[in-house]
């Protein structure tokens, strides 16, 4: 394992010491490592286990339970397309299909340039703007194919650092 950058080490240390019991920081530590590695690779899991004093199994128990921790490689931008009932009512399926077709990936797949991963997501809490998706911590409202095209183009062009929880 190559050493972690010092800022990240400091950050991990801060996360663990900010709480009374290191276990509480488990998700935060995994977020931070996911941010660093791009996803939670096995090395990240071993790191997290070291930092938290938990076993890799205990962390795997959590990482695989949750939706926003990725144990397999994902693109720079993870597109969470809400597929719950309100968005469904507004033909979310076709938005989802459209995204997959435009990007040329199967559901859950990552584009070849490593930019995008398309995932269906549980209701993201933006139902009044259905259909909706969440990328980079930002909601995109009342999607249409044209709107999707615009978003993809904007993200492709942009140099914005992906924002994920960390």
């Amino acid at each position: 394992m190559s050493p972690l950058p010092p800022e990240l080490s400091t950050e991990l240390h801060r996360l663990v010491t900010a709480v009374d019991n290191p276990r509480e920081a488990a998700v935060d530590v995994m977020y931070a490592l996911q941010h660093h590695y791009g996803y939670l690779c096995d090395e990240a899991m071993h790191r997290a286990a070291e930092v938290l004093g938990m076993t890799t199994l205990e962390l795997e128990s959590l990482a695989t339970f949750y939706d926003y921790l990725y144990r397999r490689p994902v693109g720079r931008y993870v597109i969470h397309v809400c597929d719950s009932v309100v968005c469904w009512m507004f033909h979310q399926d076709s938005i989802f299909d459209y995204l997959c077709r435009t990007l040329g990936v199967p559901p859950g797949g990552t584009t070849e340039d490593g930019l995008f991963t398309v995932l269906p997501a549980a209701c993201v809490g933006n139902c009044h703007n259905a259909p909706t998706m969440l990328i980079n911590g930002r909601f995109y409202d009342r999607l249409t194919p044209e709107a999707v095209d615009a978003v993809i183009a904007e993200l492709r062009a942009g140099t914005e650092e992906p924002v994920r929880c960390k």
């Binding site: 096995d42 938990m54 076993t55 890799t56 199994l57 795997e60 128990s61 695989t64 339970f65």
Partner: protein, 792 residues
């Protein structure tokens, strides 16, 4: 005390008992998957739903989650309950593969039973089945995840009950997966219980796979021989070969579980190397020839040098039947009384440890789990008495304070305080524990050089003083220093499964093996008869002089070096073949039943030619006989007058055991009324002065450390490396670094070991594994006893 009615049967139970348990007491078995009496309720499977007709709870509810209450009327067969349970089964079967015919659990599978008894026989569900990939969980447990019904028993046992954290649930929803982070053997030395616990074929006994269907096996209640606790097991045998060992419930001892040493150490019974043929003059012989040869040699030695020239060595892994027969034989022949212990002092200590178990003070393992403060002295639980570990963990989970005073480093899956102290300091810990809340003066006086331990010792004194149910688990060497306070429960941990029996039965004036070695050196012993013991391990000093003997007669079932050195050898039967009586370390006598006849396994005999077609020849490998039988025949060959039932007569004549009848022992065993301190016990030995150099402390490897599992193929290769553990300070004094190779002085050839530094080792102590190469180490290594070996 709630009174309730279950299926028309009134039952009264203690407060807090769940309805499912109350029903069990009323003789009603409510279907269940996740509930287990040792693990408690999880409410996960929902199969135990019953109808509450009257009382504080109404309607369909889970009987495992509902505490019994006054006035409840419960119907387990209510149509709604039956329909609900049937649907639960349908849901579980929706994803369960129909592979019962090839599943190792098939036929003793709870899911199979509940499916059939619940009447689910037709698949309505049109969907496909879920599939998982399996993991390799090491040599003992087989993983077949597709069969999982997610009762969470495994995870609750593994993590909550045992405290190990490398196996558990992953993912969520209908993808939940029980396994490890990656392939690999399970850390948990109690993991074998998963095979018993899992209600389906998801986790099965790997070595027992495809060996035999469980119902095809002969089964017998037996007792584990791999440490002194006397855990109850069921031995399963097929084709005259022990196929597997399962835990057998004994609420007072092991509860529902056993350790993996006990579960997987059985293979010596059918090992190819097991000596099965009698030898005379070192050559195969018929039993009669061997008997005649033995009798001739022993009689000749006695005649030429006097009966005192015949020494008798008994083993601590033998049944009490064997021990009693050997004692009777020696007595009738006028030979020296059998030596069972390394020194006469050890024998006295072991007896004293047991005699201390007066009714108010004796504790069973189960009692220990209910203690609120436990001090363990001179015992390394995982090495010396594995199930004690689980017991201590249950006590700790219930809030007990656990203290362990032992020179060895302890890696225990429970909250505890370790006091790493050299053996000679342990008695002082008992004094501190008995000193009451204000022990600081005593602590400073007794441990002037270990101020870092003072706070822990004070915590110990306080915890023991405050506790309502304090208990003490101790090695017999500390028996003389036990506190007199009746409040403190006692639980000795002895060396081996037969130690208690030997201590109770051996004549008080029996010599120790050290004395025999000295007598042999002095030329006063000319013949030795050794029964089920390896002299090279038990008495290296004696074994070193075997050449000087005129006769060495050995009875055993393990291929030990002693057997190889024997002039006359008589093969004995194993416990699986003889059954017998054993005294557990808590002083309880228990009975093990034989599960099979001696004799070569059909598989080995047929050599692929099955069934064996040559019916005329005698069955091969049937020569082994109970050691007690050989003793009797030997006596007859010597024309001696022997008791017909040596054990029964020994018990009848025994001051403490007179009331016990080995034939009618109750299922949970029986503990005689011990008298407390023997009037004639020697005063506690004075604390040995700190000798120069390092005290040698042996640690029994979990597998292959006890003699039986050393000869069992499954466990023999798992002893771990030959390391010498040192405290970093001691190592620094000796100028040794971690990983250095050292030579330990033991007799002629030094034993080599790799040094490991561990802060959990007591100062002034070197800890080595109990492996043959270290058997001859002296109790104390002088200044030159441990030298660095330049690596070539």
């Amino acid at each position: 005390m709630p009174d309730l009615i279950i299926d028309g049967r009134p039952v009264t139970v203690d407060k807090g008992v769940s309805v499912i348990e109350a029903a069990e007491r009323a003789g009603v078995m409510i279907p269940r998957f996740c509930w287990h009496k040792s693990l408690g309720a999880a409410g996960a499977c929902r199969l135990c739903a019953v109808m509450f007709v009257e009382g504080p709870v109404k309607g369909l509810e889970m009987s495992c989650m509902t505490p019994a209450a006054d006035g409840m009327v419960v119907e387990t067969g209510h149509p709604k309950a039956v329909a609900f349970r049937r649907q639960i089964i349908e849901l579980l079967m929706a994803n369960h593969p129909h592979d019962c015919p090839v599943c190792d659990e098939g036929g003793h599978c709870l899911l199979q039973d509940e499916t059939i008894s619940g009447g689910h026989s037709l698949r309505r569900f049109p969907g496909r089945k879920r599939t998982y990939q399996d993991q390799n969980l090491g040599p003992f447990i087989q993983h077949e995840m597709n069969r999982c019904i997610h009762c969470y028993r495994c995870a609750r046992f593994y993590q909550d009950y045992c405290g190990y954290r490398d196996f558990g649930p992953m993912q969520n929803a209908n993808r939940v997966y029980f396994g490890r982070f990656e392939d690999g053997p399970l850390d948990n030395p109690f993991a074998g219980n998963l095979a018993d616990l899992c209600p389906t074929g998801t986790l099965t006994d790997k070595p027992g796979r495809f060996v035999a269907r469980r119902w095809d096996c002969q089964r017998a209640p037996s007792v584990c021989l791999h440490c002194s606790l006397g855990c109850n097991v069921t031995a399963l045998s097929r084709y005259r070969r022990v196929a597997r060992i399962e835990a057998r419930d004994n609420a007072a001892i092991n509860g529902a579980f056993i350790c993996d040493r006990g579960r997987y150490g059985f293979g010596y019974q059918s090992a190819q190397e097991r000596p099965r043929a009698p030898l005379a003059a070192g050559r195969p012989a018929t039993p009669e020839e061997a008997l005649r040869a033995a009798a001739g040699l022993l009689a000749a030695a006695a005649k030429r040098h006097g009966p005192d020239a015949v020494a008798v060595v008994g083993g601590q892994r033998s049944t009490m039947e064997t021990q009693a027969a050997l004692i009777a034989l020696a007595r009738a022949a006028g030979w020296r009384a059998p030596a069972f212990f390394a020194a006469a002092r050890e024998q006295a200590q072991a007896r004293q440890a047991l005699y201390a178990l007066t009714p108010p003070r004796a504790r069973s393992l189960a009692d220990l789990a209910k203690a609120d403060a436990v001090l363990v002295v001179g015992v390394s639980p995982l090495a010396d008495a594995p199930m004690l570990t689980l017991t201590l963990r249950q006590a700790a989970r219930a809030g007990a304070a656990i203290f362990l005073a032992d020179p060895r480093p302890l890696a225990l899956p429970l909250d505890h305080v370790h006091l790493p102290l050299a053996p000679r300091q342990l008695a002082a810990v008992l004094a501190v524990a008995a000193a009451g809340e204000d022990a600081s003066g005593l602590i400073q006086q007794k441990f002037p050089l270990a101020p870092e331990l003072w706070p822990r010792l004070e915590a110990l004194a306080q915890a023991m003083a405050k506790a309502k149910r304090p208990a003490l688990a101790y090695a017999p060497a500390l028996a003389a220093s036990l506190p007199g306070d009746d409040r403190v429960g006692l639980f000795p941990v002895l060396a081996q499964a037969g130690t208690a029996g030997a201590a109770l039965l051996a004549p008080t004036d029996a010599p120790g093996l050290d004395e025999l070695a000295a007598e042999l050196a002095a030329g006063r012993i000319k013949a030795v008869i050794a029964v089920e013991t390896d002299l090279f391990a038990a008495a290296p000093a004696l074994a070193a002089r075997l050449d000087a003997l005129e006769a060495l007669v050995v009875l055993d079932h393990l291929p030990t070096p002693t057997v190889a050195a024997a002039q006359v050898f008589l093969p004995t039967a194993t416990l699986f073949e003889t059954g017998g009586t054993l005294a557990a370390s808590d002083g309880r006598l228990q009975r093990a039943e034989p599960v099979q006849a001696p004799g070569l396994s059909v598989l080995a005999d047929g050599a692929g030619d099955h069934p064996p077609r040559d019916y005329a020849r005698p069955l091969p490998g049937t020569d082994p006989a109970p050691a007690a039988f050989w003793c009797d025949r030997l006596g007859r060959a010597l024309s001696l007058e022997l008791p017909r039932h040596p054990l029964a007569e020994a018990l009848a004549a025994h001051p403490v055991l007179a009331d016990l009848d080995p034939v009618t022992l109750p299922a949970e065993g029986q503990r005689p009324t011990y008298p407390g301190r023997e009037p004639a016990t020697p005063e506690s030995p004075p604390a040995q002065p700190a000798a120069e150099g390092l005290a040698v402390v042996m640690e029994t490897p979990f597998f292959g450390g006890d003699e039986l599992s050393r000869y069992a193929p499954l466990t023999a290769d798992k002893t771990g490396p030959a390391v010498a553990l040192l405290h970093p300070d001691d190592a620094a004094g000796l100028n040794l670094a971690d990983g250095a190779t050292v030579a330990l002085d033991c007799g002629d050839a030094p034993a080599t070991a790799a040094v490991r530094l561990h802060p959990g080792v007591a100062r002034g102590v070197v800890v080595v594994p109990r492996l043959p190469r270290f058997d001859a180490l002296p109790p104390n290594l002088g200044p030159c006893g441990l030298r660095r070996r330049e690596t070539p």
